[in-house]
Symmetry: C2
Subunit: 351 residues, 2 copies
């Protein structure tokens, strides 16, 4: 007989195995796009290298799992899933330039290694290649569904870029008077659509659901995406660098407007606000360790990190409730289970 | 009675009027994409401002003129033409970042004014918006032709980005031993496809030509594009800054591998080659006016600029011959005349 803890471990390893299976379906399609193409050294080799050390691929997995859970042959979701993963990697490369991030997944970022000019171009290439992969859909799911999926990608691109504009604009103008609603709008645009809502919606389209019925995934993906992003904000501040893969405290050095920072702002006295404005108004290079320590101290005093942790947990619980509604018509089995497990993994952050 | 010179003037002003007419068809569609959208200050206002001082729009004009010359209602080409112009502007913004260019059309470039982070994102947005505009084609020219046009855009993106990778890679690795064939391959990819070949091919698709018959435009566009690029290389070295709109000699400061530079390399003695390698191996900030003057002196001695001028003229003549073949089935009239005039204007550089 097994106790709860062991069952949890089993669920986690089942999740990892399932994730690896989905990933194995997607990677060959991704690498086929770049293999043997010229120019290699300045373009396709850089893409292949980036893809080969890519993350675990939960976005394509969510897409394939949703397609299969609603009755599709999972292989029919591969072009869409591969395009999602390619776009995600394109976003990472441009994001790292925009954020001035030097490391990701323990290795130098694309621009740190190859300079900003080639890195901008590599990101552009990956965005273009993603759209090329998507054309496979015409043969795989037929022209009508292929077009519906293409519209999802149009929306995905615009929302993600608008979210990025908000985040970058707030930093550039040193906006500090932001509300939780501002934050949620930014996260919905920057993260939730492309990482959660669209993978579900596109998977469901592959399974033959009508475009008008896709709204069921929107609230689920919003809540799950917000849980993910808030948890990401927290891990960036207090995570294990080895496991997290990015510089701990990097968001503070970059001046990112996180839920933690917004909570802090709302609890600071006027003179402390003035000091925070000054610290955040400096360029990354001009901020000092003392500045960062000052912010960490205020986080501690006002319980801002603990607040964000609770918010992430609350969002995850709400997402779990929405999951039941969004996937009510899905087939019970390993694919539906995978989406359900994703919820816990996102907040426990094993993905 | 008018003499030859006056007739030439008339042709030129007719060309400008026709160009303005095509532009007037495209601009409202372009601006409609961004009008009133949020976030304005960090994204859509920047795009609107950039578009409103856009160039004369010869790429969309070539697309509409070709469609009309082959019998289409010119309005049916507007979505494709607008998407071409939007993409061109997206390329300009990322190119300026990649080249480190501070001025374009007499005003600071997007990144010089708004920083690299927002500028990378604005370019991404314009690429995404271009693909969104293209979806109009389904209603305007029907799904089959819309799909054929979409494939042209897929190809356009990949070729342009590969060409950019070659140019940037050569600079990054300080490649000097380049041949004219290397240069032509880079120009075909970087310039000819998106600026000339695809606008013609897409216009012809709008007019109902079969995809298998589009090869007729490839050689025409290659020759015209190469003429354009070589002339652009020359104007960058010796043009009128007021008219040219970019910094004169900017290509040398950026280390661009132009036909002029390749000609020079092939005529330098070994010790001079060594010196050129050293100059080009410096970063932009480390090059001096003496370095630039040294190169200009060698250009003069070896007739490299004169050589490129002749090459541009020869390419333009060959393009004119190809025009007769490519447009043999086109309707005689103002649209076909426009394409014919474009040839002369490209090399006289009034566009």
């Amino acid at each position: 007989m097994r106790l709860g803890g062991d069952t949890g471990m089993d669920a986690a390893s089942q999740f990892q195995e399932q994730l690896a299976r989905y990933r194995a379906m997607v990677m060959p399609r991704l690498l086929a796009v770049v293999e043997g193409r010229e120019p290699g050294r300045y373009l396709y080799d850089l893409i292949a290298e980036h893809l080969s050390r890519a993350g675990k691929g939960f976005r394509p997995a969510l897409c394939i799992a949703t397609a299969a859970a609603f009755g599709a042959d999972p292989r029919a979701a591969v072009p869409s899933a591969a395009a999602l993963e390619m776009l995600h990697n394109a976003f990472l490369i441009h994001d790292d330039i925009e954020d001035g991030s030097e490391f990701r997944r323990q290795v130098p970022t694309m621009h740190a290694q190859n300079g900003i000019p080639l890195a901008v171009n590599v990101g552009d290439a990956m965005q273009a290649l993603a759209l090329g992969i998507l054309r496979d859909n015409i043969a795989v799911v037929g022209p009508r569904t292929a077009l519906a999926i293409a519209y999802e990608f149009d929306h995905l691109l615009v929302e993600s870029i608008e979210g990025q504009a908000l985040e970058l604009g707030w930093i550039r103008e040193n906006r500090c008077d932001l509300s939780e609603d501002d934050y949620l709008e930014m996260v919905l645009k920057k993260t939730c659509w492309y990482s959660f809502i669209h993978p579900c919606r596109i998977g469901a389209l592959v399974a033959g659901l009508h475009p008008s019925s896709l709204g069921r995934f929107d609230r689920f993906g919003l809540l799950l995406g917000a849980a993910f992003q808030v948890q990401d904000d927290v891990l960036n501040l207090i995570g294990d660098q080895e496991k997290y893969g990015k510089e701990i405290g990097g968001d503070l050095w970059e001046g990112k407007r996180t839920l933690v920072l917004i909570h802090l702002w709302q609890h600071l006295a006027p003179d402390e606000r003035e000091q925070l404005v000054q610290i955040l108004g400096r360029t990354r290079g001009d901020r000092t360790q003392d500045d960062i320590d000052w912010i960490y101290g205020r986080f501690e005093r006002h319980g801002s990190i603990a607040y964000a942790r609770r918010a992430a947990a609350d969002l995850a619980i709400a997402a779990a409730q929405e999951f039941e509604r969004a996937y009510a018509e899905a087939v019970v089995g390993s694919d539906r289970d995978f989406v359900s497990s994703l919820l816990r993994q996102v907040v426990e952050r094993d993905v």
